[in-house]
């Protein structure tokens, strides 16, 4: 299963290292990771997505929870969570119509267009990993020249 973990940590140097080290040392995988300061500057929030069976995910959560620098560790329920990642694709333009087609595609996914050049353009997308994957499939025939992704950021819905 795919799991979104939300980890509240003290905002101190070296914590990202410890968290990623734990994943490596315990043979867990990091699918994506994003880190940012919270509304309270004493804390940072990390969102890590990972794969594993239920037992494994439970073990990841427990090991993270055991760390002294983690304040709160949650395995978020996807259905009760808003989660997005930001991606920027650089897409190849070879035919005259490509620019328009890519523009349409970007619009369909709520993306924004940047840096439109004769032979390439960029699309900025904020979407779920599944949507990103779908966009990627559709953009592939044009030729994806480069991509940068932030990893998932996630927040539980109120009352969830």
């Amino acid at each position: 299963m795919w799991a979104i973990l939300s980890i509240l940590v003290e905002n101190k140097p070296g914590i990202l290292f410890k968290i990623t080290h734990l994943f490596r040392a315990r043979n867990f995988n990091i699918d994506s990771i994003s880190v940012g300061i919270t509304e309270n500057p004493d804390y940072s929030k990390m969102t890590i997505t990972t794969y594993g069976d239920e037992k494994r995910i439970e073990q990841v959560v427990k090991q993270l929870d055991k760390m002294i620098d983690t304040v709160k560790v949650e395995h978020l329920d996807e259905s009760k969570t808003v989660f997005r990642e930001l991606c920027i694709f650089k897409i190849n333009l070879s035919n005259a119509n490509d620019s328009m087609e890519v523009n349409k595609l970007a619009n369909a996914y709520g993306g924004k267009v940047h840096d439109v050049k004769k032979d390439s353009m960029m699309v900025e997308l904020s979407a779920t990993p599944d949507q990103v994957k779908a966009f990627e499939e559709l953009a592939r025939p044009f030729g994806i020249l480069d991509v940068a992704r932030t990893g998932v950021a996630a927040l539980q819905r109120s009352g969830a």
Partner: protein, 565 residues
């Protein structure tokens, strides 16, 4: 609030440690920890000099396990710090409380590959419970306070405090706090009455219940509670190797350790049981072999202070998270309240006792006068029951597990998790410092003892008279046994060629060296060592071909033991 006094970071560190009750530090000085060393001239903390930093860590570890207060070791930056790393990892693997203080290059030199700089925080991270690197002198009092708290509470472990040299020399007004907050650390859980009650019910309804006592039972000194539960419910008790001696091994319900070199009767009964009360154990591979063979039949009640251990290696039907002493006490109380006390021996207990006496009579031991079993039984016979035993790592360690019965709980310690050769002797020194009035014996092999034998200098010069008891087969014996068993006797890299002569080695350090070549000589040597004022090395030549048996080969189940033929 306490009165603020301006002082250097080094002085603050020593003052904070004195406030924690530290009486001695095991260590070795170097460039980056000189300011802290200078403070030994101005405080009451005793410094015990080692000849290698790894031994300082093992001494602190031995001290910590025996006294249940963190032992403290000092090392300088760079190689000093990397040298104690093995000792820190050993303490972490066995959940031993420890404070390791390393010197570091000055803050403005960090990251510039300065002389004797090593990123010890980065290196130690996976093998410490926590690591601090104070960046200003004023942080030190709180860092020390938190460090001791983290090291000794919950599941104990080593804490590293890495102090840059300028942080040691800089002055600051110091406040020594009585209170502090660590937001993400919750070492205590409330007693879990509901699950303890469910556990009792499960045990009462089981046909073949058994207790598996792990190291956690020793760490929390749950000896009386464990014994009360076993006796009230008439439960046979096996242990892990780390839990050896949590329950008196001379007790009629005791079967001894299970595992790769567990007692035959313990492995047999563990494999037949249908319900286990597992107390403070992580179900390590060395203990359980592979559980799959009987795990469908086995119901597991898992008590542990560390929630992450529940379900890590083994799924449990009932989990009781929290200090095992606290929860066992709840169990004892509930049993009393409910007036539950078993008096008749069940068929299961009868079967267990029969199995135990069968193996007592029928386990073949080495026929020679100086076979391992005979040597260790002689040691047991002559040692007072309160004596503390440590071991090195290898065949002698497993023979000690098989043939040295722990009578008084909590008097047997070994490097069981990391399996660090060279641990036993310095750990014995640390144990003797913690309990100077009881005999302390390191049951050793020649291979392991060689790794930290220079601690003889510490034992002699610091007047810490421990006994090193070498079962000397002039071989890296356990490796040799595996080569005999699994590699068709292709012996590689195991022969020690009787080098050095351990009697002369001991004498060269000013210790007493005795060679025992018969049971009569052994008897005299042990008695002599017990009355000696100076550390004694007893060198006992044994048959290099003697195997440790029974043996559960890796990846097989406890019921598939290789037995002596």
């Amino acid at each position: 609030m306490n009165e603020m006094e301006t002082m250097t970071g080094a002085k603050a560190l020593m003052t904070a440690m004195e406030k924690e009750g530290v009486k001695q530090v095991f260590g070795l000085p170097g460039g980056a920890n000189l300011p802290m060393y200078d403070e030994f001239n101005r405080c009451d903390i005793r410094h015990i000099l080692v000849r290698h930093e790894q031994s300082a860590a093992h001494m602190a570890d031995g001290f910590g396990r025996v006294s249940r207060k963190p032992g403290v070791c000092f090392a300088t930056s760079g190689p000093g710090a990397t040298n104690i790393l093995t000792g820190i990892a050993t303490a972490q693997a066995d959940s031993a409380p420890m404070i390791a203080v390393t010197g570091q290059v000055a803050v403005n030199m960090i990251g510039r590959d300065a002389f004797q700089e090593s990123d010890i925080i980065g290196m130690a991270n996976p093998v410490v419970k926590y690591a601090f690197q104070p960046r200003s002198a004023g942080e030190i009092p709180e860092v020390v306070k938190k460090g001791f708290f983290i090291a000794e509470t919950g599941r104990p472990g080593p804490v590293l405090i890495d102090v840059p040299k300028d942080v040691q020399t800089n002055e600051a007004p110091m406040e020594f706090p009585d209170e502090f907050k660590i937001q993400g650390y919750h070492p205590w859980a409330d007693p879990d009455i509901v699950n303890v009650e469910r556990a009792i019910d499960m045990l009462l309804h089981a046909e073949k219940p058994i207790i598996l006592a792990g190291g956690g039972a020793i760490i929390s000194s749950a000896f009386a509670e464990l014994q009360a539960v076993a006796e009230t419910l008439m439960l046979p008790v096996v242990s892990t190797f780390k839990g050896k001696g949590a329950f008196p091994e001379t007790h009629p319900l005791s079967l001894g350790p299970i595992g790769m070199h567990g007692h035959a009767e313990a492995n047999k009964m563990m494999a037949e049981a249908d319900c286990v009360l597992a107390i403070g154990t992580r179900f390590s591979d060395r203990s359980v072999g592979t559980f799959e063979a009987f795990e469908k039949r086995l119901k597991i009640i898992h008590m542990d202070v560390d929630p992450a251990e529940i379900g890590k290696n083994q799924n449990a039907q009932i989990a009781v998270v929290g200090d095992v002493k606290v929860n066992l006490r709840v169990m004892v109380k509930l049993l009393l309240q409910k007036a539950i006390k078993k008096t008749d021996e069940s068929l299961w207990v009868k079967h267990v006792k029969e199995t135990k006496s069968y193996w007592k009579e029928n386990l073949k031991i080495h026929p020679g006068e100086l076979g391992a079993a005979k040597i260790l039984r002689k040691l047991r016979e002559l040692l007072p029951k309160e004596s503390i035993v440590t071991t090195e790592v290898g065949q002698h360690q497993m023979w000690a597990s098989l043939f040295y019965d722990v009578v008084q709980p909590g008097t047997f310690f070994s490097s069981t998790g990391l399996g660090t050769m060279g641990w036993g002797f310095p750990a014995a020194i640390g144990a003797k410092v913690a309990k100077p009035d009881v005999p302390v014996v390191d049951i050793a092999g020649d291979g392991s003892f060689s790794m930290t034998e220079n601690s003889l200098a510490t034992a002699v010069l610091e007047d810490i008279p421990v006994i090193v008891f070498i079962l000397n087969n002039s071989t890296l014996g356990m490796v040799a046994q595996w080569q005999r068993t699994f590699y068709d006797r292709r012996m590689t890299g195991v022969e020690q060629h009787s080098c050095p002569d351990y009697v002369k080695l001991a004498e060269s350090y000013g210790a007493q060296g005795i060679r025992a070549q018969s049971m009569d000589e052994l008897d005299k040597a042990i008695k002599n060592a017990l009355s000696s004022d100076v550390a004694t090395v007893i060198d006992i030549p044994i048959d290099p071909e003697e195997d440790v048996l029974p043996f559960v080969a890796p990846g097989t189940s406890l019921s598939d033991m290789i037995l002596p033929s």
